[in-house]
């Protein structure tokens, strides 16, 4: 099974390229002269990230501005990426929004909007990308979900449902693509110090974005299946997941 070519610069597609973790992963790839296709929503932010990667050693950086909920354009953008890079070695899907849980509880449209960004848009993209990689019979599909997707909690179950659903989707995809040599990686970060977690008081459980980004790089290059970031979330979530629902429902989490 050779998911990645042994040598040479990787061809990397990043969806949600302005996210802090994705940027840090991209920086590691840029150092070895990778070629990039970056997709993001804000044109100025996207070009700031592209310039940064060029100075850091990227051989080629192309960008596409896309609101990821605009699923009608997914096919076009995936096609552009494959065309620009002549195939894909690594795909990192990193976009996401941490919604306001209280608002999602009070307004069904808000809840659905959050699912559209964090789940539906990813399903659309991954369906297209999976078929491309399957045809190519190589490549890594790495997707950032969250520890919040492991178990629903009152404080963020709308976000958790989207990420958990995405995790199940990825399990199926991994199983399906195994025979064609395509690797599917579920990345589950805990708390990472990024603009997304601005409002959350920092605790010792927080990891820096650059640590998380390097962990994503390692997970991709070693072709793991499911990775917690940092690693210590695996035992933490094992404990959380082992609590009986009769107990769990009483907790304030």
């Amino acid at each position: 099974m050779s998911a990645l070519p042994d040598a040479g610069a990787r061809r990397v597609l990043i969806v949600g390229a302005t996210s802090a973790i994705a940027t840090e992963t991209a920086r590691v790839y840029a150092g070895s002269g990778a070629r990039f296709f970056l997709v993001g929503r804000h044109p100025k932010r996207l070009s700031a990230v592209a310039d940064d990667l060029r100075v850091r050693g990227a051989r080629q950086v192309e960008t596409a501005v896309l609101d990821l909920t605009d699923t009608g354009r997914h096919e076009e953008v995936v096609g552009a990426a494959v065309g620009a890079l002549g195939g894909l070695d690594v795909v990192l899907v990193a976009h996401g929004v941490l919604p306001d849980q209280v608002r999602c509880q009070q307004s069904a449209p808000s809840a659905l909007e959050s699912l559209a960004v964090n789940f539906t848009s990813a399903v659309s993209l991954l369906t297209l990308l999976a078929n491309r990689l399957e045809e190519q019979r190589s490549g890594v599909l790495a997707v950032i979900t969250s520890v919040a997707g492991d178990r629903g909690r009152q404080s963020n179950y709308v976000y958790g449902a989207a990420k958990g659903g995405l995790g199940v989707f990825l399990q199926g995809l991994r199983n399906r693509l195994y025979r064609s040599g395509v690797v599917v990686i579920t990345l589950k970060p805990g708390f990472v110090d990024t603009p997304m977690t601005l409002g959350i008081p920092k605790s010792p459980l927080f990891a820096s974005a650059s640590r998380a980004g390097r962990a994503v790089y390692r997970a991709i290059e070693t072709r793991r299946d499911v990775v917690y970031i940092p690693w210590f979330w695996r035992p933490i979530m094992a404990v959380v997941n082992s609590l009986p629902e009769a107990v769990f429902k009483r907790l304030r989490l």
Binding site: A48, R54, V55, K202, S210, R211
Partner: protein, 440 residues
């Protein structure tokens, strides 16, 4: 930045401590200033490596610029690097040294941001040749609290350019800067080291400065009498380094995990340490080639070394006195060594003739002395006030980036362009340091 951000109101000297209303992160240079609904004053902050209160804004907010960590462009032929203001010097070295380029000016730590390097117009061991950091800045963009964006260069918004270099973050937020790097043959420094017995010998050695790119002396600030000012003189030039290039992004394995007991570093332990350092240095000039990080950043080898001074923290006192007042330097060293206070190794260097790059730039022709002193309340403050008086009489200055206590009166004497600077300051920007020294 490779760390979770806890900008908790501490500067590098851990004295004084400040409480801020909030930390306002700045992540994208294209965004407007994050000042909506903010009524208090703000101050740009990144690595927090200023020693005293110039990077603190008690009762106000901090603009956390560490998110501005992107490179923008690099002209490989001309050595012009453009990057965002929160990029650290360590990041620049990691990327540029393997390509044969080097920062034109380096301080004693690589963990400072480009914005901080400009705001303090930092200097290094090559000041006698290269001048200060600001002299190598070709342009930057300033974001004012009004939302106005101003590209500043020597010939574009020149007043604001000169005010912002050394301007302690008070003229607005620097978004990005363009720097002129220098070519180097490799990652090594061909270094010479020799101990010298007293201050007079330092003056003789520093008279040969012009032949070397980098010169500095470590001085035993507790030595007295005929040993006054003794130390270890170091000088060096860029050289090829056989073997692997050092990785400046790696954090050291040695780390001070918590505040040491207050009395760990006292007059006696420091006397022994300083003397051992002196005796351990070569008697005659010894040449070696070392990786550049060992030459420039010996203290970066121990993460959190500032905690060795204990929970009360320490102050670093750095001043400059004109070359024609060597007696002032002698008087300063005498005061420190006779004070009975816990003073660590000091640093002594001759600054060059370069004109100041900014209105409030600290470096100016003369001898500069820096010394760490464990903070012991009034006793320490009284000693530093005496030192200020000596510096004032000699027509010198004290470095704001290291200061936590100088009076408004001293500041006015040290920085005669204060009023011209005040006219360029942003009305919404302030700092604990600024409120103290700008008082009428």
């Amino acid at each position: 930045m490779d760390r979770v951000r806890h900008t908790a109101g501490l500067s590098w000297g851990r004295y004084p401590r400040a409480t801020h209303t909030r930390i306002l992160p700045v992540t994208w240079r294209s965004d407007p200033p994050p000042l909506e609904g903010v009524r208090e004053t703000v101050l740009p902050h990144a690595c927090g490596r200023s020693y005293g209160d110039s990077c603190l804004n008690a009762g106000g907010a901090l603009l956390d610029a560490t998110g501005l960590d992107r490179f923008i462009s690099f002209d490989q032929a001309a050595g012009l690097l453009r990057c965002e203001a929160g990029v650290t010097l360590a990041e620049i070295l990691a990327l540029m040294v393997p390509r044969g380029w080097f920062l034109p000016v380096l301080p004693g730590t690589r963990w400072v941001s480009v914005g901080g390097a400009i705001a303090n117009d930092i200097h290094g061991k090559n000041h006698h040749r290269a001048g200060s950091f600001g002299a190598h800045v070709t342009a930057f963009e300033l974001l004012r609290s009004s939302g106005e964006r101003l590209v500043c260069a020597p010939d574009r918004n020149p007043e604001l350019f000169r005010a912002t270099i050394g301007g302690l973050g008070l003229t607005g937020l620097i978004l990005w800067a363009e720097l002129r790097l220098v070519r180097v043959p490799g990652a090594g420094i061909a270094m010479e080291r020799v101990r010298y017995p007293a201050l007079g010998a330092f003056f003789e050695l520093s008279a040969q400065d012009a032949e070397y790119e980098y010169t500095v002396a470590w001085v035993d600030c507790l030595a007295r009498g005929r040993r006054l000012g003794r130390g270890v003189y170091m000088r060096g030039d860029h050289a090829e380094l056989p073997g692997a290039t050092p990785s400046p992004l790696r954090r050291p394995t040695l780390r001070v995990p918590a505040d040491a007991p207050s009395l760990l570093l006292n007059r006696w332990t420091l006397s022994v340490f300083n003397a051992a350092y002196y005796v351990g240095a070569p008697r005659t000039l010894r040449r070696t080639v070392v990786p550049y990080d060992r030459f420039f950043f010996p203290l970066d080898g121990v993460d959190g070394w500032n905690r060795l001074y204990g929970p009360r923290g320490f102050v670093q006192y750095q001043c400059v006195v004109p070359e024609d007042h060597p007696e002032a330097l002698r008087a300063l060293l005498e005061r420190v060594s006779h004070s009975g206070q816990a003073a660590g190794l000091g640093v002594l260097k001759r600054f060059g003739q370069a004109p100041p790059a900014g209105l409030l730039s600290f470096p100016r022709p003369g001898f500069t002395l820096a010394v760490d002193i464990a903070f012991r309340g009034e006793r320490t403050l009284d000693l530093l006030e005496v030192l200020d008086t000596i510096v004032r009489h000699a027509g010198g200055a004290v470095y704001p980036a290291k200061d936590a206590r100088m009076s408004a009166e001293s500041f006015r004497a040290f920085f005669p362009h204060l009023e011209a600077f005040r006219a360029q300051a942003d009305p919404r920007f302030s700092s604990s340091f600024w409120r103290r020294v700008s008082a009428a």
